[in-house]
Symmetry: C2
Subunit: 314 residues, 2 copies
DNA sequence: CTCGGCGATACACAGCAGGTATAAAGGACG
DNA sequence: CGTCCTTTATACCTGCTGTGTATCGCCGAG
């Protein structure tokens, strides 16, 4: 039994007449008679009652037609759904990201992507860079935003693009002596109560701080440790001390805080976007396109990938 | 797009390998490749990712396959449902009947039919014989149980079979003077307060009573009129008078009542089963078969019809 | 009784599903 | 780094079957 039989039976039920149903189907009447006969033989029951007044479905025919309609609807929906999925209008995107990404690139990107692709289910997982990388390699994520490029086994199968350069910035409460000053020198920081990110989550950042302040700096040893950048800002705002974090903090200023540039300017690991080199899924492509349009400075780096994923122009 | 494409795509998704999927389908590998290619061209999206490790559905493929599974399920259900309907296992039977039929043949018939055809929806409509006949002719009923054969325009297109012979019986309360007596003579009835059926509903019965008791019998003129036989019995049981009804009342005796045969024995119109001569629906056939097995005396009359409706033995 | 309309049947043809042979691609391995 | 092997795609042929044309059989209308 093929979909053709269903289409023919439905047409016959609609027109109640072999000749007109055949005409509507664009075929001659005899083939329609034969196909209906074949269908009835296969089903094992007479589906239509042929009378002088017209052709009408039997009880078995009614039962058959109801299911046939649904079957054809499902087939049409299969094509439609596949098309939408292929165009990236539906689907799922699992994004792993470091918390500080919520300061700068993510708000705009997520807002834009959610508006352009309302039927894509976004799964957001805040996690440390190393976990993001591992999950990406294991296929548990589709995209990751990390500090610095992914390392370790399997990282060569990822594509990584820097999406922002950062440098060290200090944040204090507006009640703090440093408030109002445009900058703070590294030597001054050594004498402050510091608030820094946990070393186990982002070792690169911690190593950079150690290099800047001195390997065994007592300020660093006595620093308050926070799990993410939001906590650093929050603690600083409540007067706990001087928070140290990425310049991206400037993108989302918080009431009651003051930011000082650290002199000399100290670069931090780049914010990096990564994904599986093999992954050509349209949802990922659409997301990368949104990233490109949202972060103009990194456009060129992604253009190559977007061209590669584009469907072959016939 | 045909059902074949869905079956092939599902097999390919299951086996993740063109060669093995083709073998499972009983075809060679190249045709499968071609059919899948044709399908992808028609859908307008790549549905499977061919890798060294195997063949896996893309996001579009997953969306397609989910719908394809449901479409094929519907097709299988269409055949199954049609078969069940053709065998009369499902469907609907609209039965019109006179209330007194609930006394004798219907309880057994309905119980048996409901047990044998649990998925057939029985629509029971108690109505006067004339309304049953009209509804049957109009196609608003499938079967009717009436008093006497249907009359009027279109009745020739019905088949009618008597399913029980009745005679007049009197019913009284056990406190009534007639209680305990096996019979009552017609002359005695003329002196009783009578309870009879409404003449407008079953004119044949009323005419018979008039003939029996005398055209303008005062007993009949002063009789209590009830809409159906159950009411007659109920009124008699509560001492209102002597109820007159069909001998079928004996089949469902009621606490506190006493039945007397009326002498001389007075035949009443037969209980008649009718249905459209053209109606060969399996549900009706099954119902007629139940009637035949439940009313052995009328078996022969229905055998002919049941043979006519039987599927042609190949 | 004839005519007209409709579905079924007969038969020829062409289009396509499916078969065989083989190419192409891409790892595995010496 | 070349060879082999596995797997999918392509090429080409064949046979089935879906479709078209012609015609029959049936039945009701006039």
């Amino acid at each position: 039994m093929e979909a053709r039989h269903l289409r023919y039976a439905l047409a016959l039920a609609e027109h109640e007449h072999f000749g007109r149903a055949a005409a509507a189907l664009g075929i001659a009447q005899p083939p329609l008679s034969k196909q209906i006969a074949d269908l009835e033989r296969e089903v094992g029951a007479r589906l239509f009652e042929r009378t002088r007044q017209g052709v009408f479905p039997t009880a078995a025919g009614e039962a058959f037609l109801a299911r046939a309609r649904r079957a054809l609807d499902e087939m049409a929906a299969a094509v439609s759904d596949a098309g939408r999925a292929a165009r990236g209008e539906t689907g799922r995107l699992r994004l792993g990201f470091i918390a500080s990404a919520l300061l700068d690139p993510l708000p705009g990107v997520l807002h834009r992507f959610g508006r352009e692709r309302p039927d894509v289910r976004l799964e957001l997982h805040e996690m440390a860079s190393s976990r993001s990388s591992a999950a990406l390699i294991a296929g548990e994520l589709d995209v990751a935003i990390t500090l610095g490029p992914p390392r370790g086994a399997g990282a060569e199968r990822l594509v990584s693009v820097p999406i922002g350069h950062d440098y060290l910035v200090a944040v204090v409460s507006t009640a703090h002596p440093l408030a109002g000053r445009p900058e703070v020198r590294v030597e001054q920081l050594r004498r402050q109560r510091l608030i820094v990110a946990a070393s186990e989550d982002e070792p690169a950042v911690s190593a950079g701080l150690r290099a800047l302040l001195g390997r065994d700096s007592p300020a660093l040893a006595g620093a308050t440790v926070a799990r993410d950048v939001h906590t650093i800002v929050g603690l600083a705002a409540s007067g706990v001390g001087v928070g140290l974090g990425p310049s991206r903090m400037l993108a989302a200023p918080r009431q009651g805080t003051w930011f000082c540039e650290v002199v000399p300017r100290t670069p931090l690991p780049d914010l990096v976007l990564s994904f599986a080199a093999r992954d050509t899924s349209p949802v990922l492509t659409a997301f990368l396109d949104t990233i490109r349009r949202n972060c103009p400075t990194v456009g060129a780096a992604l253009d190559h990938r977007l061209r590669a994923a584009a469907p072959p122009s016939e």
